[in-house]
Symmetry: C3
Subunit: 178 residues, 3 copies
């Protein structure tokens, strides 16, 4: 199965599609979550996603190094869901933003370093990575938002290049791009 | 022909494509409009869309229950255009927002209830529903805007699941997703 | 090769794809740039794009009439990249915004007039035009931003209609729409 990238807009069915692939694989599922329940809205969204998953699935919370965690969980009998790159890149920028000025360069280095972990996966591994397309609206006013969409765009391109399969979700329908 | 969902970004040719399908069907056309001319800009946009339509087409203005109106207009000799879900969901949120706090839950209930009307359409019906993809930009700052894109995303998924045909418009070109 | 339209979100690999097509053509490359280095961020982005291009390529800076410049550079032995419509439409609106109230109508006239230059290209010409999809997010609060996405959407539709080939870039992958 290899590396599968699932991209698309907000509420386009990306996570549900990853969950469906995992269930169909009949493998042991490991869920690598990058979301942190920092406020009520995020807590609610995390709970909604969790309710879609069977309780037997193992969840690893890894806001800063999810690719390494996914690599470690990849095995011939496992199906790993990494959900999602979008929040991971946001976590990195927020993490460096509190320490550096500007955050874009160190966040980019950290992102590209962690991404290396998903190169050269064994062919019998199954890793589905969920991300978002965030660059199809008007240019944001906010400089950090622009840095964010630039970095996420670069991360998505890098993963799509490595992936064995890329799916674009639109209104719950998967369109295979690769 | 059944149920056709036409989605895409702003100014991607969605309404024009619906109008073209209606004209080609050579059926009697019923246009269910959800837009309300609340300001000058909206009035202008409504007038532009109206100018694209032959005067013989029957227009029904139904800002809150467009699916019911479309269901009632569906017949073996009619082609119904419902344009669009985007403004309908906005109308519902605005309507409840003035009465409730928060608006998301009651608007969602109202949306899902009206959507039921488009289940189990007769196979000889022809209903084209226009909607928008609004979730491919940066996460909006505004909580109501986030509730809006979540609800519209869910509505789009629900309709795409029921639809016999789903078209994604990009720069005026229709890409068939289903 | 004719007229090729390359569209997609920010950081989806549009310019790189145009550069790749140009390199593969083994023709003499003319790069028509619409970007103006008005601030540090834009200067950096322009420099990044320039670094991807071989120094032998000829660059023409044409912020207001890029289609005319592309038409003049089109020849049986040249490959013209026009990068990009997005900044061109922004330049037009900004240019008229400082003189007129509102800017949308004169900017639209100027855009449609310059676009005429890309009609009826000789079949042995090769012109790749880069643009952006900006209408797949939440409706912008700002009236000028709404006018911008309306006008760019119309320009994209007009070019896609004339184009011999239309590619949608998603995460660095080209999806052929036409």
């Amino acid at each position: 199965m290899g590396l599968i990238l699932i991209t698309g807009g907000a509420r386009s069915g990306k996570s549900s599609y990853a969950v469906q692939l995992a269930a169909e694989s009949r493998r042991r599922v490991v869920y690598v979550a990058t979301a942190e329940p920092l406020d009520a809205e995020m807590t609610k969204r995390i709970d909604q996603h969790r309710a879609e998953r069977p309780p037997s699935w193992h969840t690893i919370e890894e806001p800063l190094h999810p690719c390494r965690a996914a690599r470690e969980a990849a095995a011939p009998d496992s199906f790993v869901i990494l959900d999602c790159l979008t929040l991971w890149v946001s976590n990195l920028l927020t993490d460096f933003d509190s320490k550096h000025e500007p955050a874009a360069a160190p966040a980019r280095s950290a992102a590209l370093e962690d991404l290396q972990c998903l190169r050269d996966l064994p062919t019998d591994a199954a890793v589905a990575v969920v991300t978002n397309e965030v660059g199809l609206g008007i240019v944001p006013d906010n400089a950090l938002a622009r840095a964010y969409r630039d970095l996420l765009g670069e991360v998505n391109q890098e993963l799509a290049l490595r992936a064995d399969e890329v799916q674009l979700m639109v209104s719950g329908i998967a369109l295979r791009l690769k």
